[in-house]
């Protein structure tokens, strides 16, 4: 294949190779180059592994939000649901139930809130902004009522192995879980018919419905996955600290949405990749870390994410992709 044929083949099949990730890779590379010039200490192995670890802890929730963004929806309640699921699981474990029972209850609580969001958005036709803001309030209230505003400590040590592993683990299991989930979701969203439906419905719900696809069922699947993802992120965090707090993850929803957009997704739906969301979240986490590393006041913390988000939107617009619809 000569070079002209290669160019044409890529134009014919934009999903081949890096495709849509080109810009998030470019953005990440540019960003890392700037950081290297300004703050070489950032690249110490300890700091880098801590960043990847923290990103992986959050990835289940980010992937859940990614699924909803592909559907053209979003969820503001992921942070509150993550905290609530951790609290529910912690309550179960401190009440003497086995760790798997606690985990299952926590995940179930997340799925229930996902289904609640679906009921509000799809069945009651409340906008996703308002509906998920309502469930955010409900989830936070449940956590606060359950804990009376206090953290729950004294969780079984076995629970800690989920995020931290044993003393012999050089790489914590949470890293394998986070990266493994990204790979699985990336594969499934490319090749599995149920996950492809997310893109079909997000791209044009009317066309999907007229093709016999149940738009409502696919949205239920998306919301339930998002709830489960949020719950799993909450459980990983609780496993890391062996405690649960009702105040965890105040910014997770907006950070996840920002990560997906930085990673190439469009809020109009129908586009976006799991790997892009991972790199997007990595950039968000790096921005937060950079402020600490540079010794800048924490009041500047939000600015880093805002600048990257703005750059991502500008780069995406520069692509001029018609298929993005926005």
């Amino acid at each position: 294949m000569n070079s002209a044929q290669k160019v044409r083949a890529k134009a014919d099949n934009p999903d081949r190779g890096l495709g849509r990730l080109d810009w998030s890779f470019v953005l990440l590379a540019l960003y890392l180059a700037c950081i290297y010039a300004l703050q070489p200490a950032f690249f110490s192995p300890n700091n880098l592994s801590a960043l990847i670890y923290y990103t992986c802890l959050l990835m289940p929730a980010v992937l859940g939000v990614h699924v909803l963004i592909v559907l053209g929806l979003f969820d503001l309640s992921v942070g509150a649901v993550a905290a609530m699921s951790g609290v529910v699981a912690a309550k179960m474990m401190t009440a003497g139930f086995a760790i798997p029972v606690g985990l299952a209850t926590g995940i179930s609580a997340g799925v229930i809130f996902g289904v609640l969001n679906w009921l509000f958005v799809v069945k009651l036709r409340i906008s996703a902004l308002i509906a998920t803001f309502i469930t955010l309030g409900v989830a936070r209230a449940v956590s606060l009522v359950f804990t009376k505003g206090q953290s729950i400590g004294g969780l079984p040590h076995g629970f800690g192995t989920l995020a931290l592993g044993s003393a012999r683990s050089s790489i914590p299991p949470a890293v394998y879980l986070g990266i493994g989930l990204v790979c699985v979701v990336e594969f499934l969203t490319h090749r599995h018919v149920l996950f492809r439906r997310l893109y079909h419905v997000g791209s044009n719900p009317a066309a999907a419905a007229s093709s016999g696809i149940s738009v409502s069922a696919i949205k239920l699947f998306g919301f339930a996955l998002c709830g489960a993802g949020a719950a799993f992120a909450g459980l990983l965090q609780c496993s890391r600290t062996l405690s649960a707090s009702p105040f965890l993850f105040p910014d997770l929803a907006l950070e996840s949405i920002a990560a997906c957009v930085i990673g190439g997704a469009s809020l109009s739906g129908g586009t976006g990749r799991a790997v892009g969301a991972f790199f997007g979240m990595l950039m968000v986490v790096i921005s937060r870390n950079l402020v600490v590393m540079a010794g800048v006041s924490v009041y500047w913390r939000e600015l880093g994410v805002a600048v990257i988000l703005f750059a991502a939107v500008l780069l995406k617009r520069g692509e001029g992709r018609v298929g993005d619809r926005g």
């Binding site: 134009a11 999907a208 419905a209 298929g323």
Partner: protein, 247 residues
């Protein structure tokens, strides 16, 4: 006279949007290998009628039967499963396909071949699409290209290709050639004739009387949602159809 068995039978279909009666007690039939043209001025209820048959609209009353068995109303999934396909007109949201995904995925939307674990069989899809392209001497855009990048005519070609791929028994065409050039129009007419000879019943909704004269066997005329004529086209001229519409 068409002696083929009746495949599709619509009876007493009625649909109102608020106080506006879009279709009123309309009934007609389509036989195997027959092309029925639906004619009428704008707002006469042609597209509404096709959407009711396909299942994207639920009628207030009436029913549609395929091979004598009543179709579930408002269920395009069942309509497709039983062999009814539709190409929507350009202004419908449905006609826009899914702009963010590839041509090949749009061609198989809703009926992708999968493994037992649900993995989409891309190679099988490409092979099947190539067969259709060769069979109908059809010109499709590159199969990996995103539909959002394509021109209106190319998108229409994808929509028609999608209908052909499923080997339908009844094909509903709502203004299929409205946005097409001369070459593409010829292709559509050739494909329609080929489908007729292979026994597919076709309902063609068109504003072009020339097109109706060229391909249709029978004409069903609507005015203000009511059926005003159902006649065979033998010995009928364009003027007769125009008069029929303006009765």
């Amino acid at each position: 006279m068409n002696t083929e068995p009746t495949v599709l039978y619509a009876e007493g279909l009625t649909k109102a949007f608020g106080s506006n009666l879009a279709v009123s007690k309309v009934g007609f039939s389509v036989s195997s290998g027959e092309i029925v043209a639906l004619v009428g001025s704008n707002g006469s209820g042609k597209s509404t009628l096709l959407k009711i048959i396909y299942g994207t609209l639920v009628p207030d009353s009436g029913c549609t039967k395929l091979d004598g068995i009543t179709l579930k109303q408002g269920n395009p999934h069942e309509a497709r499963a039983r062999g009814i396909e539709m190409v929507f007109q350009d202004k419908d949201e449905e006609s826009k396909l899914c702009p963010g995904i590839s041509v090949i995925e749009n061609l198989f939307l809703g009926r992708e071949p999968t493994s037992r674990l649900g993995i989409v069989q891309l190679r099988q899809m490409h092979e099947r699409a190539k067969q259709i392209v060769e069979h109908y001497a059809f010109s499709l855009p590159p199969l990996g290209a995103r539909v959002g990048y394509l021109s209106g005519g190319q998108q229409k070609a994808v929509a028609i290709g999608r209908a052909l791929l499923s080997e339908p028994r009844i094909l509903l065409l709502d203004e299929p050639t409205a946005s097409l050039g001369l070459t593409e129009k010829r292709f559509v007419h050739r494909a329609v004739n080929e489908l007729r000879s292979s026994g597919v019943g076709i309902v063609l909704c068109s504003h072009s009387l020339e097109e109706v004269m060229q391909v249709a066997d029978r004409v069903v005329a609507l005015r203000s949602g009511e059926l005003i004529a159902d006649e065979r086209l033998v010995g009928t001229s364009e003027v007769d159809i125009a008069l029929l519409m303006s009765k």
